[in-house]
Amino acid sequence: MSTVPGQAPAAATPPATMPAVAMKAITKRFPGVVANDRVDFEAAPGEIHALLGENGAGKTTLCQILSGLYRAEEGEISVLGRPVSFASPRDAIDAGVCMVHQHFHLVGRFTVAENLVLGDRRGAGRHFHIRPDAVDSQVRELGERYRLPVDPRAQVWQLSVGEQQRVEILKALYQDARVLVLDEPTAVLTPNEAENLFATLRDIAREGRTVIFISHKLNEVKAVSDRVTVLRAGRNVGTVRTDQATAQSLATMMVGRDFEAPTRAPGERTKGAAMLQISDLWAQSDRGLPALKGVSLQVQAGEIVAVAGVAGNGQRELAETIAGLRAATQGKVQVGGASLKDGDPRAAFAAGVRYIPEDRLGTGVSPNLSVATNLELRSFRDGSVGPFLRLRRMKQAAEQAISRFDIRGAAPGTRAGLLSGGNVQKVVIAREFAGAMKVLVAASPTRGLDVAAVAMVHSYLLEAAANGAAVVLLSEDLGEVMSLNDRIAVMYEGQLSEVQDRQSLEEIAMRMAGSHLPPPGPVAEMLL
C-alpha cells in the first residue's frame, strides 16, 4: 500500500518501516536514581502507544526527554526518521513532538486563543503586531474536527480541568504535532470525559499521527491503546500488542511478579454498631464558599463506605471536617455516640478518628522532618517528659514501625520527603494506625501510587475494617471504589447521594458527572 502524502494510513497498522519515534539506549540519571536505564522505545505513525509502569518506573522521564524538557545522558532519538537532539521543548515542538504534561503548561490569565498564539512561529503569532482574535475561527474549526469544543475567547483559569486539557491538546494540534505525548491524561477527568478523550485520541491517530499515552491504569490501557510498552524500574520490560495481552499479564509485567489485588466480597463484613454518625453537616471551602451542603452519613463498625466523586466536589472538606481540621458551619460529627469538638484535630484524634489525607507529602507528612519525627507527630505529648522528647524511645518506635509496615529505603533519621510515594503513605498509615482506631478517613489514599503500593494500602484499609473501625474511603478511582466498598455514596457539588448497597458502574459514573439532578423544568428549558 503506497501512501499519498497527507493521507493517513489506517489506524493500528503494524509498525511501518519508519517509526514515528525511535529512542535507543536512553539513560537518564538523577541524583541517587537511574530514572531511565538504556531504554529502547519505538512508536509507529498512526498508533496509540501506551507507556505503562508503576510510579517511578521512568515513564514520565522518558517522555520528558522525548519532549525536550530533559536531556538524556546517553542514547539517541530520531523522530520521523531524522536523528534529533533537543535542547528545549521548543526544539521538540519544531520537530513535531508535543507533550501534554500532568500539570498543564497554560497561562491561566490568557484566553484560549492567546495561549495558542503564544510561541507560534508559523501562523497568526508570527507577526510583531498580534491579534489573537485572528485564530478564533481556527480554534473553532480544530475543536469541531477533533471533538474538542472550547470557546477561544474564554480565559483559561475559568475553564474546568477537562476543558484546560482540551486546550493543551488543541495547542499541540495547532502546532501540527506529529507525535502527541499525554502524561496520565485521565487522572483529572470524569469517566465520561475520559471516554470522550479516548475518542479524540483515536481520531488523531487515524490521521497518521502518533499518540503516546502514559498510564498506570490497566483498564485504560486496554481500552485505548494499540500497543503497550511496559517500563519497570527504569527499564523496558517489553512491548506487546494490546489485543494479545490481558490485564493480568500486563500487571505481572509491571510488577515483575504474580500478585493478587485484595478485594472485598459482598457480605463479607460483620454487622456492627453505628460508629460514625454525620448529621446535616455544612462546611465552607478555603475560599469561603459552601462546600458541604447538608451531608448525612452513618457508618457502622467494621464497615467500609466508599464515597466516589470527581475531585473538588467537597470530598476534601468532608474528610477534613471529620478529622477536625475544618470547623463545620452547621451539623455535627459523632464518634461512638459522642459529638466531636468542632475544628479540633487533637480532640478528633483522641476520640479515635484516624486520617489519611489526600495530599500525602504536604499534609500527610512534613517532608523535611525525619521518619521518626513524622511517626511521632500525633503523639509528641504522650511520650515526652515535660517539654523534653524521649529521642531514644522515638527511634525505637520508628524502627518497629519501619519493620512492621515494611517502609523501604527508610531509617529513623531519613527525611520523609526522600521516600517514594508508596513509602510515604506507609509512614502516614503507620502513624495513624497507632492507638485505638474507631474511625478511619482515607482521602484518595492510592492516588498516584503503583499497583503494588495500591494493593498494600487496600490491605491496610481492609485490616482496619476487620479490626472494627468504621472506614470512609473517599476516592475518584472507580475500580478502587467498586472493589473495596460495603456501600457506595457519590458526592457531587457538596451533596452526598443516597447510599445504596448496590449500584452499577454506569450509575455511579453518571452521578459523579451530576446527571442525577432532576430534568430541567419549563423555565430552564426556555433559557436553554
Partner: protein, 321 residues
C-alpha cells in the same frame, strides 16, 4: 484663575508625579516579567545623583547636557538593576531580600550620598534644568495652560511612554511573551520563549526608567541635589504599580494623584495657609497611602484578584523535581 489652589495643585501634581510615573512604569515592566524589584528607591537615588553630576561637570550646551544627563541616569539605573537581575534571575535569590539590599546599599547613607558628597554636588543649583517646553501664550490658557502646556519635555515623554508600553504589552508578540513569562514561566519556556532573557531585559529597562525618574527630581523638580533626595518616591512607585492593577494608563492616574498629595504641603505653606499640625499629616499623606496599599496588597489572594502576575516573585527553575 490659573493661580487658584485647585489648578496649581493639579499642575504640580503632574510635575511631582512624573518621577513617580517613570519609576512606576519601570517597576511595571519588571513585575510583568515576574521580577519584583524593591530596589527602585536605590536606583532612583543613583540616577538622581549621576544625572545631576553630568549636568554640573560636563560642559556642553544646555539641551545636550540635559539629554546626556538623562542617558547617564538611565545607565546608572541599568547597572544597579543588572545586579538585581543577576542575583534573582541567574542565581535565583530571594527577590525581596535582593531588592531591599540594593536600596540600602544605594540609599541615603550609602552609595548615592557617597557619590554626591565626594563629587561636591550638595547645595549647588543645577546649571541646566528642564523648563516648560511650549510657548508662553499656550501656558496662559485657563486651566489647560498650566496643567497641560506648562510642563517640561520629560512630562510629554512620559505620556508617550505610557502609550508605548500599553500597546507593547497588549498588542505585540514580545508583549504577549513577557506577560506569559510573568504569569507562567513554565508554559512560556515550553513554547520556546527565553524566560531568562525576557526577565533580564525587563528588569534592566525598569532600572533605566527608575534612574530617569531619579534624575527628573534633581533636574526638573527641585532642581538641586541633597542626600536622600527621592524621599521614598521609589517606595511610592512600587505601591503605585499595585494601585494601578499593573496597567500603564492607571499608573499615570495614580502617579498624578500621589504627586498632588506630595504637592499639598509645600503649596499650602507657600500660601501661608496654616492648618496647624495638619501640615504634618499632609506631608505624610503619600506615605500613609503607600503603607495602606502595600498592606492591602500583602495578602496573596488580594494580589491575585487585583491582577498581579502569577509568577511575580518566584524564580524559574526548569528542572524542578
Amino acid at each position: 484663575m490659573n493661580n487658584s489652589l485647585a489648578v496649581v495643585l493639579i499642575a504640580s501634581g503632574v510635575a511631582y508625579g512624573t518621577p513617580l510615573l517613570f519609576a512606576a512604569l519601570g517597576e511595571l515592566l519588571a513585575e510583568r516579567s515576574g521580577v519584583l524589584n524593591l530596589g527602585v528607591e536605590g536606583m532612583m537615588l543613583v540616577g538622581a545623583v549621576m544625572g545631576f553630576w553630568t549636568v554640573e561637570r560636563v560642559h556642553v550646551p544646555g539641551g545636550l547636557a540635559l539629554a546626556l544627563a538623562m542617558l547617564v541616569a538611565a545607565l546608572a539605573g541599568t547597572v544597579m538593576a543588572s545586579i538585581h537581575a543577576f542575583l534573582v534571575v541567574t542565581l535565583r535569590a530571594n527577590q525581596i531580600v535582593s531588592g531591599l539590599a540594593l536600596t540600602i546599599f544605594a540609599g541615603a547613607a550609602g552609595l548615592s550620598s557617597y557619590l554626591g558628597n565626594d563629587l561636591n554636588l550638595a547645595d549647588l543649583p543645577a546649571r541646566h534644568t528642564f523648563g516648560p517646553l511650549l510657548p508662553k501664550a499656550l501656558q496662559k490658557l485657563p486651566i489647560v495652560g498650566p496643567v497641560l502646556f506648562g510642563q517640561n519635555i520629560l512630562v510629554y515623554l512620559s505620556w508617550v511612554l505610557v502609550v508605548v508600553i500599553g500597546l507593547y504589552l497588549s498588542r505585540t508578540r514580545p508583549g504577549l511573551n513577557v506577560r506569559a513569562v510573568g504569569e507562567s514561566p513554565a508554559a512560556a519556556d515550553t513554547m520556546g520563549i527565553n524566560v531568562t532573557a525576557y526577565r533580564y531585559a525587563h528588569t534592566l529597562a525598569g532600572g533605566a526608567l527608575a534612574g530617569v525618574g531619579g534624575a527628573t527630581i534633581t533636574l526638573a523638580l527641585t532642581p538641586q541635589w541633597v542626600s536622600g533626595i527621592t524621599g521614598g518616591s521609589g517606595w511610592i512607585a512600587v505601591a503605585l504599580v499595585i494601585f494601578a492593577f499593573w496597567r500603564p494608563a492607571l499608573c499615570l492616574v495614580g502617579a498624578y494623584f500621589f504627586g498632588a498629595l506630595q504637592a499639598v504641603a509645600p503649596e499650602l505653606q507657600a500660601r501661608s495657609i496654616s492648618l496647624g499640625p495638619t501640615v504634618l499629616w499632609t506631608g505624610a499623606l503619600p506615605y500613609l497611602m503607600t503603607v495602606l496599599v502595600l498592606v492591602v496588597a500583602a495578602s496573596g489572594t488580594a494580589r491575585r484578584r487585583l491582577g498581579a502576575p502569577g509568577a511575580l516573585g518566584t524564580p524559574y527553575i526548569r528542572e524542578a523535581r
